[in-house]
Amino acid sequence: MNPDFTNSIILPENLPQLEGTGFNPVDRKYIWILYIRYFFWTAVLIPIAWIFPVILKEKAPDFLLWALIGLVVISMIASMVVTKIGFTCRGYLIREKDIAYKRGLIRYKLTSIPFNRIQHVELNQGVLAKRMGLATIKVYTAGSSSDDLEIPGLPIETAGQIREFLTGKISADE
């Protein structure tokens, strides 16, 4: 290993507003966006669950409708509980030479991209995120789009700072 190589953690003071070492958490308000997504899907799936037995007509037993609706509601609640517990696991980390993001309780994932592989950086805000003052940072590499690193639920100022910082790193490399 090259003895001159260093990759110490960049302390959050360089990115004002956040405290602590180790992985930095995302904004707690973000969990509400996740909850709203679950509500939305439930709202979509319940009518479908309701139509399903109607199509089958005489073939479907009576309890099928309630079983399906129950299934939808239970999976929604289960997903929300898992998300809530796993929310504290979410975090991002910016070091001297790379950026990483981890998430997930049941399916834990840690994604990293070295700065010298970043093609460009995007800052996105959905409708809901805008109202809450949150944004998503998306880091693109030369790989396929499934390989992009996405950090949602960042406060808009932090997201802006991260974007500036990363964009600076890209031009520094060239």
Partner: protein
């Protein structure tokens, strides 16, 4: 122009009143004439030449546009010939430049000798491009060595040895889709047939099921043969000093140049039938700028052992991997595969038992078959690493190999399921510019160490990944 044919045919066969036909016909005629005039003017104004290490193109008859491309910015030159073009004796040349904002430049309908010479000249510039070699000095067209050529007999062998099971399953699902679409138009009849089908299924048992399976396998065999013949007809694989050239195709004659340094990953696979013939199917994955994505994955079936060794030595140098320790996936992988592909589908299909309890034998057979399949999957799941490269083995019935160099790493993903945390097992996905390599269910410490090491390697290597 080609787009107009369906319109004309449609009009000819449509039932309109006499006056309507006349009006529509007049419009069509006008459109055809205008297109002809435009095309003639366009081609007369289309001129290109090479001067001062630059490719200069002038086009447009109303507003003249001049495009200047420095020759060293040309990344790729490919040629293409559709049936129509073959008939007329012309080809199109596609020039791919660096930078995602650049549009791909396509020159259609050059006469064959001109197209061939143009692509040779441009290729020779690409050949000499690597920064290490200094100035680009162009002399004669680059030396090409024919490494492999597929005969019709080879095509036959390839067609037979393709992965039929997968094709059969895909075609089966297409069949179901088709049936569903038909059903919407013939609701009553379909209900009747569905009823008949369920009665049929519950009464006829094995014979019909087996013959259905055979039918789908035969259809997929036919499909493979036809696809092989069309895509890989007279495939010629050439080696230049720093790149490969692959020419193939029956209806559309494709000519693709692959510089070595653009190759991100090499995949090769063998299977039971392929082994019988001693052939491998090779996929070369190269990095292409945004627009020319269709040449990113190049398939080359019918390769022999010596071709594989040649490819590996051209792209990766002498084999530093074969003596490295073999790192296998955990037994957890076997369990998981068996559950996901064996038990869960069996449970989902268990309602069939309501029709006829004899289906339990089918379900048991499936579970047993998946047991063997899962054992094979585990057996073939391993990898070897050296300081700069990795080779991964995977597959169950077919045997897949993937090899890449570490400096091509773009992105890393370490993942762990909560169910396997206590076993200390995790997966690592290594992404490059045109594909990825997955290390499933390996020792978590190795996964973490490799993750850290690959980050270090990508951050310190000054080798160009494209």
């Amino acid at each position: 122009m080609q787009a107009f044919w369906p319109v004309i045919v449609g009009i000819l066969f449509a039932k309109h009143s006499g006056k309507k036909i006349l009006i529509i016909g007049a419009f069509v005629l006008l459109a055809v004439i205008l297109t002809l005039i435009h095309t003639i003017l366009y081609f007369r104004a289309f001129r290109f030449h090479i001067e001062n290490q630059q490719f200069i193109l002038k086009k447009g008859y109303l507003s003249r546009k001049t495009l200047t491309i420095p020759l060293d910015r040309i990344q790729n030159v490919n040629t293409n010939q559709t049936v129509f073009q073959q008939f007329l004796g012309v080809m199109s040349v596609e020039i791919d430049t660096a930078g995602t904002s650049q549009k791909e430049l396509k020159i259609s309908a050059l006469t064959k000798p001109v197209a061939v010479q143009l692509s040779r000249i441009l290729s020779s510039y690409i050949e000499v491009q690597p920064a290490e070699s200094g100035e680009a000095v162009r002399t004669a067209p680059p030396e090409e060595k024919l490494v492999m050529q597929l005969t019709n007999r080879d095509l036959l062998k390839i067609g037979i040895s393709q992965n039929h099971l997968k094709t059969a399953v895909i075609l089966f699902f297409f069949g179901i889709q088709f049936y569903n679409q038909v059903q919407q138009y013939f609701k009553e009849k379909a209900a009747e047939y569905a009823h008949e089908a369920t009665v049929f299924l519950s009464q006829s048992g094995w014979a019909i099921l087996i013959s259905l399976v055979i039918f789908f396998l035969l259809v997929s065999l036919l499909y493979s043969m036809v696809r092989t013949a069309i895509l890989f007809y007279d495939l010629r694989f050439y080696k230049l000093s720093q790149s490969y050239r692959i020419v193939s195709g029956l209806l559309t004659r494709k000519n693709v140049l692959i510089p070595f340094r653009k190759i991100q990953q090499l995949n090769w696979e063998t299977g039971p039938i392929k082994k019988l013939f001693g052939i491998y199917k090779v996929n070369i994955l190269q990095a292409t700028s945004g627009v020319a994505v269709k040449t990113a994955l190049i398939e080359m079936p019918g390769c022999l052992d010596q071709h594989i060794e040649g490819l590996k030595s051209d792209l990766f140098g002498p084999d530093e991997l074969k003596d490295q320790p073999v790192i296998r996936s955990s037994r957890v992988y076997f369990r998981r595969t068996w559950i996901y592909k064996g038990w869960i589908p069996a449970i989902l299909f268990s309602p069939l038992l309501l029709l006829n309890w004899l289906y339990v034998f089918l379900l048991i057979t499936w579970i047993l078959f998946m047991l063997i399949y899962s054992l094979l999957t585990l057996k073939k799941s391993y990898f070897q690493v050296s300081h700069g490269q990795i080779r991964v083995s995977s597959g169950a019935i077919e045997h897949h190999f993937k090899q890449m160099e570490f400096h091509k790493v773009q992105h890393l993903e370490f993942s762990q399921s909560i169910f396997y945390k206590k076993h200390g097992v995790a997966s690592l996905r290594i992404g490059n510019a045109s594909g990825f390599i997955r290390l499933p269910f390996i020792d978590e410490r190795i996964a973490r160490a490799l993750h850290d090491y690959l980050l270090y390697y990508a951050e310190t290597s000054d080798r160009v990944w494209m």
